[in-house]
Symmetry: C2
């Protein structure tokens, strides 16, 4: 991932959710507004927090089409011409939807929560105004967040803003204004080196695509038993929610899969059902094992 | 360390310095004021940040007496009767001063930055309104902070306060409102268990007292060569700054001590000179080695 010269990379303590406040606090001046796209739980959390700091226009919301969740195409968005930025969540971990495209917002910078997408594939940083991402998906431990911010968006802020919520202070001090989460940062360094040894982002993307394709194909080919309710154009590469057509078998599925060593398959408590998260650290063999298990389970209970 | 029933313990991401803002934001309502005691660099940082959020009265400041730094006794403090809280820093890591006593503030709660003191000795939590402490001294990794807060101080805050800066939300959600810094928290748990195996806080305090006494005694007995400029009544148990009477020998001292495996003896860049930090993780043998080195160095260069 190339970082253009006019961007700064900050490594700040805490999780990505702090950015839900930091983004509007640092970008919105009095009476300014921003556009947000609502594609799921994480978008909604960002919107809720941003509303404390300015006028927030929800320009588009995920909808159902023939029973499948879709991210509305850009021609349906109601962007405002004077928005300071457009915020969206390229991948929703709970809802399982993903942008396969980058919106065109003209001169208005795009601000994105990339927590669950960063380093899963090559990415053109220059397309975005701010990219923020918690480390705990593809970059290491919970407790450190990366913010890649275009320098013209680093501004003076009003005096009520806590020091640690000011991009300018963090940028001027190269993320060392206060003791950074040193060990977490070190671990992220090891993960970056590991990624390079795997062949870099192009290679990881190939692997991630194979992993996701296998699982989606299996689910689609066994729709009598399993189901994923996301439109194929918007399916997440990383977080694949699925349900069993016989809903009451879900607990049995989770118990038996755990017994087989396949853990963390329970869907998020807000979504129910099952979910397989195929972050970089999940090897392809893990997906193969899951498919074997799903196949056996379907034969046994189908 | 017993936590009384009317206190909550929060484990929040990031460092203790976030509390410099969180304390006044959560405790001070409009037009309210607080008293702060200035005993050094960390007190001053807390004061500077608090001034964004209310009227801050500096009720006392460290001073020099016969060339030695002293914390002024309480009868010299100018506390205000309507202060919402009194903030002080029981141990100053850079200045090397420590409160050997707990101020009497009547019904006004004491708020303390215990980052460099917590778990160095037994402590009566009920004496304080809020105790906050970054983990990276005696509790584990940088990137997690413990806040022990008396429940009556957990209040509703104005809507401009970022969600993650609200004690109430963190307390209501038992520090799980967002993904906590899980690995750092786990490491702190291991440190707590290690402390118990050492014999608990009373035992650690004995060891810490022996460590500090050895070093102070040695310095005092070799004042022709080494010097500590803190009044004996206010000397830190943990952070012991010292200088060489021949100032130009400092770099040689630091270079030779590093060669002997004694590292991190350079004074903080704001203070200069040398500093030995005797946190719980520094074994008594480490102090013995340092004294041997200091003795050899003084003979060689004295």
């Amino acid at each position: 991932m190339n970082i253009p010269k006019n961007y700064q990379v900050l490594f700040l303590p805490g999780g990505a959710t702090a950015q839900f406040a930091m983004v509007p606090i640092n970008l919105l001046e009095t009476n300014q507004n921003a556009d947000y796209i609502d594609t799921g739980v994480w978008s909604q959390k960002a919107i809720l927090e941003a509303k404390r700091y300015g006028t927030i226009n929800v320009a588009a919301t995920s909808e159902k089409k023939d029973g499948l969740t879709v991210i509305p195409p850009q021609d349906k968005w109601k962007l405002t011409s004077d928005a300071v930025y457009v915020h969206y969540t390229p991948n929703e971990t709970i809802d399982g939807v993903e942008f396969k495209w980058i919106p065109d917002t003209g001169d208005i910078p795009k601000v994105v929560d990339m927590s669950s997408m960063i380093l899963s594939r090559p990415m053109d940083v220059s397309q975005f105004g701010i990219i923020y991402a918690g480390a705990q998906k593809n970059m290491g431990q919970a407790g450190i967040t990366v913010i890649i911010v275009r320098e013209d968006l680093i501004k003076e802020v009003p005096s009520w803003v806590p020091t640690l919520y000011q991009y300018k202070i963090e940028a001027d001090n190269h993320s060392f204004y206060n003791t950074p989460p040193t060990f977490s940062w070190y671990i992220s360094g090891l993960v970056f080196a590991w990624l390079k040894r795997q062949g870099g982002l192009a290679k990881i993307y190939e692997i991630n695509q194979r992993k996701a394709k296998k699982l989606y194909n299996y689910i689609d080919e066994h729709q009598g038993f399993y189901k994923n309710s996301i439109h194929p154009d918007c399916r997440s590469l990383t977080n694949i929610p699925f349900s069993l057509q016989k809903d009451k078998l879900t607990d049995t599925f989770l118990a038996e899969s755990a017994k087989a060593g396949l853990t963390n398959l329970k869907g998020h408590r807000l979504a129910g059902g099952c979910r397989a998260s195929l972050y970089n650290a999940m090897p392809e063999e893990g997906v193969d094992k899951l498919l074997e298990f799903m196949h056996d389970f379907a034969r046994k209970h189908g």
